[in-house]
């Protein structure tokens, strides 16, 4: 039995009262994470604290780097040396990581980046939650690319989606962003740990000797340093062998198209939503992360008051769950999108429906209340019921 099994079996079937940050750290340990590099930042520091405490007990390594640029760099280096690696940060640190997130995409380095979103731009309200990095997660690094980002809305889900982030990272050889928010990261609630052996872990697919590590199939197998393969890993445009070729148009087109299509073609396989629909609904509420909680509360209350409302919670934010949004749009006349930003996912929703999409934006570090969302549902419900009014 490995050190990891021994340590984590102590948690089996136990229910603990944990922070979302702590649950994410334990999710990483269950997923097989054996390398963490980070830099302190509110509201993500608790992830580093748990990792620094637990990794040495499960035959893993923790290192606190000099900044977030170094943190993600060390993670990528460690992954090529055989690790399952993770870093965790918040907005300002996430901004610093953007260049090397692009490097991880280009070099197809599986890793997990947790962003516990806080109020920005810049230092903003450092200790307050927000959902303002949703589009940065999608488009923060330069150049054409796809990304995977997941948004947990409970402490239990912080655990589960961290495991899933590691699995998706391995399956598609891509950095996966766990897009938490300060509300969930610092929320303390009950979480039940599964038996260690029941957790599904996607293992790294390693290339046969002499096989290409950077092409030949949509998601090529990778290789590690120190195996005599003499692999060449570069963020420059490269051929299937890994050797750079920055002057041939077709080489770049083939590479970047494959890097995008390995995700976009697998959209239906990757994306997860939770949906709760009722007959006769004319309004749909779409939410994610912490905001999904008051949003769902408002939907249930609206139904109790006689207003039929559909609810759709996005678990996967990127690639965008287009099909689920189209289905919702086909059922209702209007989609309300509460978000802790000035309208980021709502714009994405607009791309997949001709129905009105109404953002319910709230910024300033305070989460929506059920009543705030409910008021918008009911006022729009009334307007739809009596178009004259």
């Amino acid at each position: 039995m490995t050190q990891r099994q021994t340590r984590l079996q102590a948690f089996e079937n136990r229910t603990l009262f944990l922070l979302g940050d702590e649950a994410a750290a334990y999710g990483a340990l269950y997923a097989g994470c054996d390398f963490f590099a980070g830099y302190p930042i509110t509201p993500a520091s608790e992830i580093a604290e748990v990792m620094s405490r637990e990794l040495p007990r499960v035959d893993g390594y923790y290192v606190q780097m000099e900044d977030e640029l170094a943190s993600i760099s060390a993670v990528i280096g460690a992954v090529w040396a055989g690790a399952k690696g993770m870093t965790a940060t918040s907005g300002p640190g996430f901004s610093l990581m953007q260049e090397n997130i692009g490097y991880a995409i280009m070099t197809e380095t599986p890793c997990v980046i947790v962003n516990v979103q806080r109020s920005g731009p810049s230092t903003g309200q450092a200790t307050k939650p927000a959902q303002g990095d949703v589009l940065q997660a999608r488009w923060g690094t330069h150049g054409d690319h796809e990304i995977i980002a997941l948004a947990p809305s409970s402490v239990q889900e912080c655990f589960e989606l961290t495991v899933e982030s590691f699995n998706l990272a391995e399956k598609y050889r891509i950095p996966v962003i766990l897009l938490m928010d300060g509300e969930i990261g610092h929320l303390r609630e009950s979480i039940t740990f599964p038996p260690f052996d029941e957790v599904v872990r996607e293992e790294r697919r390693l290339a046969d000797p002499d096989a290409d590590c950077f092409g030949g199939e949509p998601v090529p197998p990778m290789s590690h340093f120190g195996e005599g393969r003499f692999i060449h890993v570069t963020g420059s445009t490269h051929k299937a062998s890994g050797m750079r070729d920055v002057s041939t148009q077709s080489v770049h087109e083939k590479l970047v198209t494959r890097l995008c299509r390995k995700i976009s073609d697998a959209r239906s396989e990757i994306t997860r939503v939770e949906q709760d629909v009722v007959d006769g609904a004319r309004i749909g509420v779409l939410a994610y992360g912490a905001t999904a909680r008051p949003a769902q509360g408002a939907v249930l209350e609206a139904r109790r008051q006689g207003c039929a409302v559909d609810f759709l919670r996005l678990i996967t934010l990127w690639p965008f769950p287009e099909e689920a949004v189209r289905r919702l749009a086909g059922r209702v006349e209007m989609i309300l999108v509460p978000e802790m930003n000035l309208g980021q996912i709502s714009r994405e929703v607009e791309r997949f429906t001709s129905r009105p999409v109404v953002p319910i934006s709230k910024i300033g570090g305070v989460a929506h209340t059920v009543d705030e969302v409910l008021a918008v549902i009911l006022s729009n419900g009334a307007r739809i019921e009596s178009p004259v009014g």
């Binding site: 390398f35 590099a37 390594y61 290192v63 780097m65 000099e66 900044d67 640029l69 170094a70 943190s71 760099s73 060390a74 993670v75 990528i76 280096g77 460690a78 992954v79 090529w80 040396a81 055989g82 690790a83 690696g85 260049e99 090397n100 490097y103 340093f225 120190g226 195996e227 005599g228 393969r229 003499f230 692999i231 060449h232 890993v233 570069t234 963020g235 420059s236 050797m243 750079r244």
Partner: protein, 256 residues
Amino acid sequence: MDDTTIIPGPERQLKPHRLLRFLRQEILPTAFCPGCGCGTVLNAFAQAVDDLAIDPKDMVFVTGIGCSSWIPSPYFKGDTLHTTHGRPIAFATGVKIMRPDLKVVVIAGDGDIAGIGGNHLIHAARRNIDITVLMVNNWNYGMTGGQVSPTTPFGVPTTTTPYANVEHPLEAAELVAAAGANYVSRWTTYHVFPLMESIQTALQVEGFSFIEILSQCPVSYGKMVDMRKASDFLRYYRDQSVRAHKAREMSAEELD
């Protein structure tokens, strides 16, 4: 002579040098400019590896963005992680932590190591992590055409200091020594044999080892200071360099 006349030359043929086995021969010749010092550094490094009988399978090279990062990547036949500008030491830290059995070597320029990545240099030295860093210092950003760098001497014109550099250069070797590295040295491409021995020592020393190598850039730097030939630089390195043990007996005025 008519400029358009193509003079037939001998077919390019690589001499079967014994150190060639360390290189990815299929991509030679190198992309280095005529007279560049990077070839000398590559030669000295390959010789050091050969003398120490290190199996390249046990080495990982980590580089950044700039001419000298090409010395190992892609030319040296080993595992190579060609990273983003300024970050090779941070990437190398991750590699070394996971695989302490491998020799992790960073070869990059003064822009990468002393400029954009300077903080990583300081903290790797403070951590005293067991990696070797060769900073190939050509006193300018050569790949981008000869802009001023953190190591450009005071008073020198570059393409972005057309009225002369008004800043003083960073003394990287002294900085790294102060930050806690176990081995620090400074050589030039003129001092090939001592450089080779120094690389051997750096590869063998446990903990952070750092060599600053002054390396000529006759094309991008030389054009601004009228040192257009490699030999101009080599003479300068020969005449201006002072061995550390002698420097200790000299006054500041003499050294200046």
